[in-house]
């Protein structure tokens, strides 16, 4: 038997996002109530066993024959001019194979400011000065010590407020503002404030936080002839591919970027950083593969951070709780350079979360002589949610309205900046309901006290500007002659479970059991272009394309089966790899049987991602509640429990979804209580570029975190009904904890993190005013 594969999809699909549209438009059947066999199930990660047994190959595990090890020399001054650099002694050290520095005169620029790769203007502690490749990391470290650099220290400014003073040293040309203030206003904010019965106003500060991925940045670069292969720890193999080609002036078919597993990125690995390019340049110079992985110091100094912010927030409301005005002005500490990637949008949540006619926001980034900031899991929103949701809590307290009720009073089902409905207008409302159910918000006890311990409850809500996914996504499925399927994608699994979730979607769409599906990703040589895994994009970008390809393939299998069974394809279905008749006729036939008949020919299918709708704005939402205990004697804070209800549309896998909730909330607890990069502004040095004094929470700091599943399919968003989840759980954690601390103690903190020093100082001040 021979069968003609439907030509329409395969021939027209290459790079053309419109072509699978006819197919995708049919795919509206994954409604609530649809019966799933694989999607939505708590499937364990496909690579789980490989990871926990240590067999999974991370970029750091790559060992190529003749591989050298790289290290980076960094500027010890916050601001300096490099007068001269002498690398001759390092080059002469036995075991050293290559050194690169300004002396090589590379014609490569870096950062949005287009600074030279090796600049003689060094603008932060940790700025890269040279790199070496040697037979071991020890020899490489010795070599760094032999490099003689002559610096001329320059006046510096590391504090954001001081950077805007008239007499502040200029970090680049100009006044240390990265750009003009970005302003937004709708309605008349001043009038709205005037018309308010009550206003709350505060200045909030958030700290510089570090991503602290378990796996540091780094890559192994290997030239094979004129072709460059890079094993990279990245959130976007295609982004690295494109940037490497651009920086090195290479055609794209000469560069390949590979990553099978990643030990965390959280935003900091969404763009190309210098060490990867160093690895490529060193490897070319040495004629050997070079692995350059950062140590924790380099990681903490020079691969991005969550920008600190200063936010002035004023809310106006009428006595019945309706917001009449929202005003927010903010400064963002960009560090010494502007990096590519997701922008930190502090203003967004103020414009979108609540119904309000009069809103005015203004934000500006400020240069300082510190490491450049880069997106960090929900950039801008984490910082902003703390301020807005603290202010809302204050408003609720002053108006004596329940905090949840106040949020319901100000509910909106519309995107007020675009003047169109949210794709899922009841999304946030449903989060509130689920949170109330799981946490017992309405039934919660009054704040209590036992000895010196005060207990309280707090909550926070949010939306998130991303999480909608976007084209392009191109997926190719090859049905093997034994009935198993290889799903080829160009995305990557950054530790979130992408591989597993996409395999589930493919299995569901084709009608195969999970064991019959292999999901390929993380290699630019095999998969079509896919976006960086940022902005909670990966699932809502890839899953619709995977589903499209899967449905396409299923149709082909059914057509082939229909020929074999001499029946009409519409009377057949595929379940768990078996062809079944909807009319109850039972002739046993499996997908493998169909393939067998077709062999040596085989079936294949393409799928791609259509554009997002324009008549609605796709948004994920969430709400989170915390119970906290504060020891008013010692200032110790204990988070007792957390419930998080994020609206990520359909939950494709409840187990991987739970992981995102637990991980995100954990980072939020660190942001609230312990994490802060410390800089001495007198001498300009970073004081805790390590894991000892940059304190991420430990297991003992983390309470039970409950994921209150919302699971509200958003079929306006895409054919799977799934939206992004990754960033959501982190956004509302800090303000909910802080609001619980207020509930417990009456103390309103406006500066993060809330460590002992701050709690005790506030408790002392509170006692003094009471006396």
């Amino acid at each position: 038997m021979t069968i003609k594969t439907p030509e329409i999809e395969s021939s027209k699909n290459d790079g053309d996002i419109e072509l699978s549209l006819p197919l995708q438009q049919d795919l509206t059947d994954w409604q609530t109530g649809h019966e799933f066999t694989v999607v939505g199930k708590p499937h364990s990660r496909l690579e789980g066993a490989e990871k926990v047994t240590g067999r999974a190959q991370y970029s750091a595990d790559v060992r190529l024959s003749g591989q050298l090890y790289g290290a980076v020399l960094r500027c010890p001054h916050p601001h300096a001019k490099l007068i001269s650099i002498d690398t001759s002694e390092a080059e002469a050290l036995p075991g050293v194979h290559a050194v690169i520095s300004q002396n090589d005169q590379f014609d490569i620029d870096w950062y949005s400011e287009e600074a030279p790769l090796f600049s003689d203007q060094l603008r932060f502690v940790g700025d890269e000065v040279a790199a070496v490749a040697a037979v071991s990391t020890e020899v490489a470290a010795d070599a760094l010590r032999l490099i003689k650099v002559n610096y001329e220290p320059l006046p510096f400014v590391t504090d954001m407020d001081q950077a805007l003073a008239d007499d502040a040293p200029a970090i680049h040309d100009g006044d240390n503002r990265v750009e003009e203030d970005s302003e937004y206003e709708r309605g008349d904010c001043a009038a709205g404030l005037q018309q308010a019965d009550i206003t709350v106003e505060n200045e909030y500060r958030t700290q510089t936080a570090l991503h602290t991925a378990l796996e540091a940045h780094g890559a192994t670069a290997h030239w094979s002839g004129d072709e460059l292969i890079v094993y990279e720890s990245t959130q976007g193999v295609h982004a690295i591919h494109g940037l490497l080609c651009e920086k090195l002036g290479l055609p794209m078919n000469k560069v390949r970027v590979i990553e099978q597993h990643m030990g965390g990125g959280f935003g900091a690995k969404q763009t190309l950083w210098k060490p990867t390019l160093f690895a490529a340049l060193l490897s070319r110079k040495a004629g050997r593969p070079v692995q350059l992985l950062l140590d924790r110091e380099g990681e903490n100094l020079a691969t991005g951070n969550r920008n600190s912010t200063l936010q002035q927030v004023k809310l106006g409301a009428s006595n019945d709780g309706k917001l009449t005005a929202i005003k927010m002005t903010c400064r963002i500490n960009a560090g010494a350079y502007a990096t590519a990637g997701e922008a930190s949008n502090v203003a967004g949540i103020f414009q979108h979360l609540y119904h309000c006619e009069n809103v005015k926001t203004s934000q500006v980034r400020v240069y300082t002589n510190t490491g450049p900031a880069v997106a960090f899991r929900a950039p801008g929103y984490v910082e902003a949610c703390f301020a807005l949701e603290s202010a809302m809590d204050e408003l609720a307290h002053k108006l004596e309205i329940d905090p949840l009720e106040l949020r319901r009073i100000n509910y909106t089902g519309r995107d007020q900046t675009g003047d169109k409905p949210w794709s899922s207008p009841d999304g946030l409302k449903t989060c509130y309901e689920r949170l109330d159910e799981e946490f017992g918000w309405s039934q919660r006890k009054a704040p209590s006290s036992e000895g010196s311990i005060r207990r309280g409850y707090g909550l926070a809500a949010h939306e998130w500007m991303a999480g909608m996914g976007n084209p392009p996504a191109a997926v190719f499925i090859k049905l093997n002659t034994d009935g198993s399927a290889d799903v080829v994608t160009g995305t990557q699994d950054i530790g979130t479970g992408t591989r597993t979730v996409l395999a589930q979607v493919a299995a569901e769409a084709i009608g195969l059991p999970m064991e019959s599906v292999r999901l390929l990703l993380g290699d630019t040589a095999i998969g079509g272009v896919a976006p960086v895994s940022q902005g909670s994009f990966t699932v809502p970008t890839l899953a619709p394309a995977v589903r499209g390809a899967g449905e396409n393939l299923r149709r082909q299998i059914l057509e082939a089966a229909a020929l074999l069974l001499e029946t009409d394809a519409t009377t057949l279905e595929i379940k768990d790899g078996e062809i079944v008749s909807t009319e109850g006729k039972h002739k046993s036939l499996t997908v493998a049987d169909v393939c067998d008949e077709l062999a040596p020919q085989s079936l294949q299918a393409h799928g791609s991602r259509r554009a997002n709708p324009t008549d609605t704005t796709i948004r994920p939402f969430g709400a989170l509640a915390a119970e906290v205990a504060v020891d008013t004697q010692t200032g110790e804070i204990t988070v007792i429990r957390i419930v998080n209800a994020p609206d990520c549309g359909r939950i494709l896998n409840s187990k991987t979804a739970n992981s995102q909730v637990i991980g995100g909330v954990t980072q939020g607890i660190g942001f609230a209580l312990t994490e802060e990069r410390m800089v001495d502004h007198n001498i300009g040095l970073v004081l805790n570029a390590d894991l000892e004094e940059y304190k991420i929470p430990t297991v003992a700091d983390i309470p039970t975190i409950t994921h209150a599943e919302v699971n509200l399919p958003d079929l306006n968003a895409n054919n799977t009904g799934a939206k992004g989840l990754g960033e959501l759980p982190l956004i509302p954690a800090a303000p909910a904890i802080l609001n619980a601390i207020f509930d417990a103690t009456g103390l309103r903190f406006t500066q993060l993190p809330i460590n002992r020093a701050r709690v005790l100082a506030a408790l002392q001040a509170q006692q003094e005013t009471a006396e």
Binding site: E138, T674, M678, L687, T698, A761
Partner: protein, 316 residues
Amino acid sequence: MKAFSYSPAPTAAEASNEKDSRAEFFAGGTDLLTRMKLNIVSPDALIDLKSADLPNGVSEQNGGLTIGALTTLRDIEQSELIAEKFPVLAQAAALAATPQIRNRATVAGNLLQRPRCWYYRNRHVDCWLKGGSDCPAATGQNQQHAIFDQSPCKAVHTSDLAPALVALNARVKVRGADGERELSIEDFFAPPTEDRRRETTLADDDVVLSIELPSDASHSVYLKAMDRKVWAFALVSVAAIKSAEGWAVVLGGVANNPVRLGPLEKALENTDASDHNALDKQHDKAFADAEPLEHNGYKVTLAKRLIRRAIEQLSD
């Protein structure tokens, strides 16, 4: 880290003889190696004490207790004898570092660990303690620093065992150039001086052999305030003992060395522990000469409250 030679010492005496200023004694290595990796110390040679005939482990000796220099914090934490007779020490060990570190870290190394001051641990800073001329912490980010002025250095001693051992009136047995000697722990610790920029009085070639605890302290407690539930150095800690002889109250995390609050100890004998006003007065006196820096005033409050809590616990 610079390359170095490594030699296991057969005996304490030989270790002491071999030692010069270019060498370092090496026990668990949990402090030494971190400083070497940061290039704060770059010895030419490491003399490993683990192979030497140092006493190891915990044993009862004429009414008191001997803790060998190589005893790990984990051993102390798990010793039933210590838990029963010296709870303050068992608790201090259990609250220190992490299980992995405690498996490796020795008692002697713990007392001899160098400051965690983040200027000291930054290899680009040449501060007073490292032989430089001034202390950037005094005018910088001094949240974790000393509230009692003991020297030009504002670093605190971060050993959890130290305040407990000071409270216990421990004695330290040492092998030096002139043979063995014993000194009180209060003589062992001393704030750094112009000529001796470290926190103990030990000579370069002194090997700590053991810690001797003269008498039981079954009614004792160690409280430690941290910025995280576990794995953090003490912001402030207190070791307190109540016995027939009276009270012992020693603070950690507040000065170059543990600080014994002698006058408070005396006053407590005549103060009703449930009389908060009277206690507060004693506290205010005890901290009258505290000199908090710009960012660490909270430590005074914290210390007072931890002491109060310790006293309450021991008075029940």
